[in-house]
Symmetry: D2
Subunit: 194 residues, 4 copies
């Protein structure tokens, strides 16, 4: 790599074993689980520690996150990667859905649609993202989220999502998803090859 | 944080000054720029180093990335955050568009739509993502991408994107975007407040 | 309305009672149902007759429709309304999913994402749209579709969709959807009012 | 077609020459153009007459439409086709963007993302759809819309869109789009064939 040594930066990322957190997610009502995270009684999940993202407010169906953009989020063209912004929006929207779920009921994101309005740079400063549930039925929920620059309320991005609600008795969204989707997947090989 | 000390993990993340890379992105034709990255002549961008994502193949309009999922990508419910998968898909799709642009012409992502098919875990092993340009006109391009498990070709997620092509004379996508969008933004404050 | 009399056009639209068709949809395997429609043994659904849209080919997971754009599809700015193109894409994608479902299993569209590449005019001539299933699990399926001008294969639009598969014993997707979603909708009123 | 004669329905659809309307769209400021349509001084566009859709309120950046679902909107599985709902949402969102454009400036829809929450039937009764601009820059605008049942305010669907703003001197969005996108389309043939 050319010029690497003169300009190399480093950061230590630390996180907690996510297995314990996921177990709490299954045992607790969504609102209680997320409030414990806001209050620092539960550790932030690894991805939040990796990206420097933080949940700061939770109500029934409405969740707020913050993220301070930094150089380690940059893409090859010199700005925060849209995937980092998508992660922020997706986190807030997913947690908004989670906040309305009772203990033992899980969810998984089926689809995310993000709109990027302005580039985000380190100089943008802290970004705030608020999401709310738009619809929650027995099987499916949708939510919407917006991200804006804290300094002047300038809107930076917005998104919507579709989540599947998982009621498999033990609220283990992960297992439920894996098994409910594996039934017959004959079309996939052809699809990927196309 | 409860139980933090016993289970804490750490990882050192290092990256290179992104300013030099962004300057190269403006000076070089897209295909040459991305090939230099595949060949290791240019450093990977910070976000790729943060997430452990790597560009492995580039042709005109078609780009392949790999990512090895790990615990530091996990969300609160114990699987890889959908935003990480979105970052992988967005990277491959954006670079597919970039690969068709001449020197001095930039691009920015307007919109991303991702579909999640199966949960991704550390045990999933390496994930491969290939994207291709679907349409490229003078102002707008669209692309599609798919991510699958390398071990068995199982499809994990797919996405499409809309990119704006920026022809501002010096290929400085970032500046062009910022200024072309700042003209009149009166509707934003109202929108955010809703 | 100014100038109406000199320029008014009219068209008679005829269609068949959709109740009989919907009953067949529940009784037959998807592939058989759609093939009967291609062969003219079952009438086209009302919306197809209204828009002049026709299913022309069906295989397992792959469906082709055609539409001849005409003046009655025009929006206020003098081209075919994007919603007409969305209807064509959604039809082909939904039927692609339907083609893989056994008798007694229904589906409903959760989400549609369409990309518009070029304007469609009456002079564009016949538009062909092919869709295929990308993924089909036990609960959710995704599909993708493309629409192009028959005369020269120029791509006009493309889309993806997320469908929910409904296994309620009698394949009555409509009822299943209505009831499975009505459980608790407290968040909707607030959402709409925002 | 089996059983056609006993159950056939018919409806006469009439509309006005869309060329005159499109010319007005180019000559007038968006807000004035849309208000003239609400007031009946300008005819509804053909697609609105075909689907029975009507613009009922216009303010700067906010537009409301109504649609009364009927049997001729039905898909093969016995409910209003999602494409009809997409047309309603797209109309309201596109017009919301149009309402903020001066005379001589056009727009075109790049992308539409619709979420379907509940089935719509003839018995649903009138559906109301309100859309608003979320962001408007010099080149791109985004908008969001919601559709609900008038009788009880139950939310039925919601959507977002990305529009490209066309400043080609004479506001001829159609021509501008066609030419700005035709520059080099080499990737399309390959894309469609995949």
């Amino acid at each position: 790599m050319n010029g690497g040594s003169a300009t190399a930066r480093r950061r230590v990322v630390a996180w907690d074993d996510p297995a314990g957190l996921a177990e709490r997610a299954r045992e607790m009502a969504g609102l209680d689980f997320l409030r414990a995270m806001v209050d620092g009684e539960l550790a932030a999940p690894p991805v939040a520690q990796l990206l420097g993202m933080r949940i700061v407010e939770v109500e029934w169906g409405v969740v707020t996150f913050t993220l301070t953009p930094c150089e380690s989020h940059y893409n090859p063209i010199g700005m925060v990667h849209g995937g980092v912004t998508a992660t922020l929006l997706d986190s807030a929207m997913g947690c908004a859905v989670h906040s309305e779920l009772p203990a033992g009921v899980g969810y998984t994101t089926l689809e995310l649609n993000a709109h990027y309005l302005r580039p985000i740079l380190a100089e943008t400063g802290p970004v705030r993202c608020r999401a709310r549930v738009v619809h929650r039925g027995g099987t499916v929920a949708t939510a919407e989220g917006r991200a804006w620059r804290e300094a002047d309320d300038e809107l930076l991005a917005h998104a919507t999502t579709t989540c599947l609600i998982l009621r498999d008795g033990n609220g283990n969204g992960r297992q439920a998803t894996a098994s409910s989707r594996s039934e017959r997947e004959g079309s996939d090989a052809a699809a990927r090859a196309s």
